[in-house]
């Protein structure tokens, strides 16, 4: 037993952190925010060049064949640096779906392009305010999908989407859809985090290539895995929001001393820290359960998701308050974190959905070794 990252994994963190620190900044995030579409192409090219888009893609498809725990390290750093790139949907969901369920032809066509950044891949799970298979209404008839998927991360820039839809027997499945092909209309949405643009896909008989075997249970497992990885991204966001808060609290003075010397703020920041560490502990278990495909993945993922949602929102909201008036301004940095937190919340849905998933998982008694 060992409940922390290994030295090798920490070295991976240092390497990717260097690259991200070199290519991200609050100024860049503000540019993306004001621009409201697109993504950080300079960072994207650097990540591709460094091989960071293929971390968990098998080596024979152009990746480096590492596992979900290494991907978790990346996710945390992407969150920390508020990276504005179409990373999450591709890495946490589309990649794993293709690796597990793609045919040889499907994998050969997409995985190398995903791993090298030549193609931008996203997922379109959500519709009807849900993202799990039971919310899906989009329908495949004669190999073509019709329906409305929303929200879809990076829909406007993505080349390909993995779309959840029902087959002629109303069984949920996953389908590859060429977003540049026929029957696809992409409408921009007004996102809380404009540095991560969202779209609505209106599909009208769009040609769909089925991923064989990706049934409802498999989709739920993919969602659980993604929730763990997103939790690490949330941890990165939350910890950095706390970090800018402690720096500000040491720097800013009132009544003749740093505001960080007042217990009202010290204790609030201690609460931010405690919530983050609690979420980190759940995320660690989730990463392990994902890597081992442990039967407790559903429970672990829901615990990681619920505590990460709470930690991230609390840290981001309180970061604004600790910064006072300046924190409420557009040009200041704290709202960048708040917005990213809401993007990550929208990515797999809020606590209401995950509470239900957790209680469902807890009700199934399993012999617990831990």
């Amino acid at each position: 037993m060992d409940f922390d990252f290994s030295n090798d994994q920490e070295e991976i963190r240092q390497a990717v952190a260097r690259l991200l620190d070199d290519h991200t900044s609050f100024a860049k995030s503000h540019d993306l925010l004001d621009q409201g579409t697109g993504f950080d192409r300079d960072l994207w090219a650097s990540l591709a060049e460094g091989g960071w888009l293929g971390v968990s893609i098998p080596e024979n498809y152009g990746g480096s064949g590492m596992g979900p725990v290494e991907l978790a390290v990346l996710a945390e750093e992407m969150g920390r640096t508020l990276a504005g790139v179409p990373f999450g949907a591709a890495q946490y969901l589309a990649g794993p779906a293709l690796v597990e369920f793609g045919s040889e032809a499907q994998k050969s066509a997409l995985l190398p392009a995903l791993a090298t950044g030549q193609k931008i891949v996203t997922v379109a799970l959500a519709e009807n305010s849900g993202f799990a298979p039971d919310a899906v209404a989009s329908k495949v008839v004669d190999g073509c999908i019709s329906g409305v998927k929303s929200p879809v991360s990076d829909g406007a820039v993505a080349d390909v989407a993995i779309v959840a839809a029902l087959d002629e027997n109303d069984a949920a499945g996953l389908y590859i859809v060429d977003l540049k092909g026929d029957g696809v209309q992409v409408d921009p949405l007004d996102a809380t985090d404009p540095t991560r643009p969202q779209s609505r896909l209106v599909l009208t008989g769009a040609p769909a290539d089925k991923l064989s075997g990706a049934d409802a249970a498999a989709i739920n497992r993919l969602i659980d895995g993604a929730a763990v990885l997103v939790a690490f991204e949330q941890l990165g966001v939350a910890a950095h929001a706390l970090d800018i808060s402690t720096k500000y609290a040491l720097d800013r003075t009132a009544f003749g001393r740093p505001i960080g010397s007042f217990q009202a703020l010290k204790h609030r920041m201690a609460d931010m820290f405690a919530k983050i560490e609690l979420a980190r502990s759940n995320a660690f278990f989730g990463a392990w359960a994902l890597a081992e495909n442990d039967e407790r993945l559903a429970e672990a993922a829901a615990c990681a998701r619920l505590t990460a949602l709470e930690a991230c929102q609390f840290a981001c909201e309180e970061s604004i308050q600790i910064h006072g008036g300046i924190g409420y301004t557009w040009v200041a940095d704290p709202h960048l974190f708040l917005r990213r937190g809401w993007h990550l919340k929208a990515m797999l849905g809020p606590a209401t959905i995950w509470s239900e998933r957790l209680v469902g998982a807890l009700k199934t008694p399993t012999e617990k070794a831990v």
Binding site: M1, D2, F3, D4, F5, S6, Q9, V69, L242, T246, A249, L250, R257, P258, G260, S261, Q263, L265, K266, H267, M269, A270, D271, F273, A274, E277, L278, A279, R280, S281, N282, F284, F285, A287, W288, A289, A291, E292, D294, E299, A300, A302, C303, L306, T307, A351, T352, W354, S355, E356, L358, V359, L362, K363, A369, V370
Partner: protein
């Protein structure tokens, strides 16, 4: 990141299971709730000592202790495994957490060779139950303000004063005592730590009844109690540093003690399945489900946080401050869960009315939780520790820190 056993750990778990199967009875869900670390009856003390002795004889008492001190020489992962396995059995409360979690590390860090040789084996075997004589009526969070005096008299020290909140003093054979040996220096600089035999003439322990109805802690009065200088623990006037060793160990002992959290979220599910809310089983209510999920996710997170602390220890780091996180989260979670459980019974709101009296179990938990939020350093003290030592915030203004104790108001 590995939540599964290595081959060596699997072997350890197998051995532990085999020994436990031969020596204890599995829990069956009917056990009455108890204070995990406190005995509430003389019978519980006797049972706890007998269980400790049996574990010591079997080689399971001091899992992470060095072999030279009679321990097993194992690592923290083995301790986690043992806690998991022992937790499946009906065993008496672990009244030795002060002995093994607080006194032992303090002795190992600051004791003389003779003290270690004489005392450590008795800690393992359970012969000596220990208590921690630190807090006073006028000095709790501000521990350095204690007034109990230690006056040198030849080869002895003479102790006079009063301690309070001393858990288990009434059944402890020994205590570690922090007393003021010098009033002419600043308050932190005039303290000395001692080992004291609780049956020494001049010591009187009076039990205090808590809001839970239990009486697990005490006031302890010292009236001209003589302690030989050989029972001094650490340097004269150097007691503050010794006490810090004890307190940092206390924080993480409380944080990693799995069972101290009381009832489990799974037990809330069982409760909610059995009571009715708006004409339906409460477990079918969305608000109820959301609260149970929140509690479960926090409880799991705390458990894994304790594992992370153990991992840091096993890698040779000293994660003592991180213990504050677990300590901070634990009491509040227990309080909220128990309160929610009591409210689940609707208009009865915690009045036990079933033969099994499930509300009674939750009520005890609810009335025990406030103590969890105070003992071992209050929530507020833990937040100060996190903010100052982990987040680098300025320390509290301590207006009296350079004033000689005798001149303090």
């Amino acid at each position: 990141m590995d939540f599964s056993d290595t081959p060596n750990e699997a072997k350890f778990r197998k051995d532990a299971r085999a020994w436990l199967a031969d020596n204890a009875t599995l829990r069956d869900g009917t056990e009455k709730v108890q204070d995990a670390f406190m005995a509430n009856t003389p019978e519980e003390v006797t049972a706890a000592q007998a269980w400790q002795k049996r574990k010591a004889d079997g080689g399971w008492a001091g899992i992470t202790w060095p072999k030279e001190h009679g321990g097993r020489g194992g690592d923290e992962m083995q301790q986690i495994i043992w806690n998991q396995e022992e937790g499946r059995y009906k065993v008496p409360p672990n009244i030795f957490v002060v002995s093994s979690g607080l006194v032992a590390p303090t002795l190992i860090a600051h004791g003389t060779e003779q003290q270690k040789t004489e005392i450590l084996p008795t800690l393992l075997s359970g012969e000596g139950v220990w208590c921690q004589l630190f807090s006073e009526p006028a000095a709790g969070s501000d521990l350095a303000g204690i007034r109990t005096r230690a006056r040198r008299d030849g080869d002895d020290w003479v102790i006079t004063g009063q301690k309070i909140w001393t858990s288990g003093a009434h059944y402890s054979g020994y205590g570690i005592l922090l007393a003021r040996s010098n009033v002419d220096v600043a308050k932190h600089k005039g303290l000395t730590m001692f080992v004291v035999k609780m049956d020494a003439p001049g010591i009187e322990a009076r039990r205090i009844k808590q809001i839970s109805g239990h009486s697990s802690f005490n006031e302890v009065f010292f009236d001209e109690v003589r302690i030989p200088d050989s029972d001094r623990l650490g340097p004269v006037d150097g007691g503050w540093r010794v006490a810090m060793t004890t307190l940092t160990n206390e924080r993480y002992t409380l944080a990693i003690g799995r069972s101290v959290g009381g009832m489990r979220a799974e037990e809330l599910i069982a409760l909610a399945a059995g009571v009715t809310l708006n004409g339906r089983p409460a477990i079918e209510n969305d608000q109820v489900r959301a609260k149970i999920a929140e509690f479960a996710s926090r409880q799991r997170g705390m458990e894994f946080t304790s594992y992370r602390i153990m991992t840091a220890l096993s890698r040779g780091k000293e994660p003592m401050v991180e213990g504050s996180i677990g300590k901070l989260l634990l009491g509040k979670l227990r309080q909220e869960m128990a309160s929610f459980a009591l409210e689940l019974s609707g208009s009865a709101a915690g009045i036990g009315e079933t033969p099994k009296d499930e509300a009674g179990l939750w009520r005890v938990d609810y009335l025990t939780a406030p103590g969890n939020r105070i003992s071992g350093g209050s929530d507020e003290i833990q937040r100060n520790i996190i903010a100052e030592r982990l987040l680098g915030m300025p320390p509290e203004i301590r207006a009296d820190k350079d004033t000689p104790f005798s001149q303090l108001k």
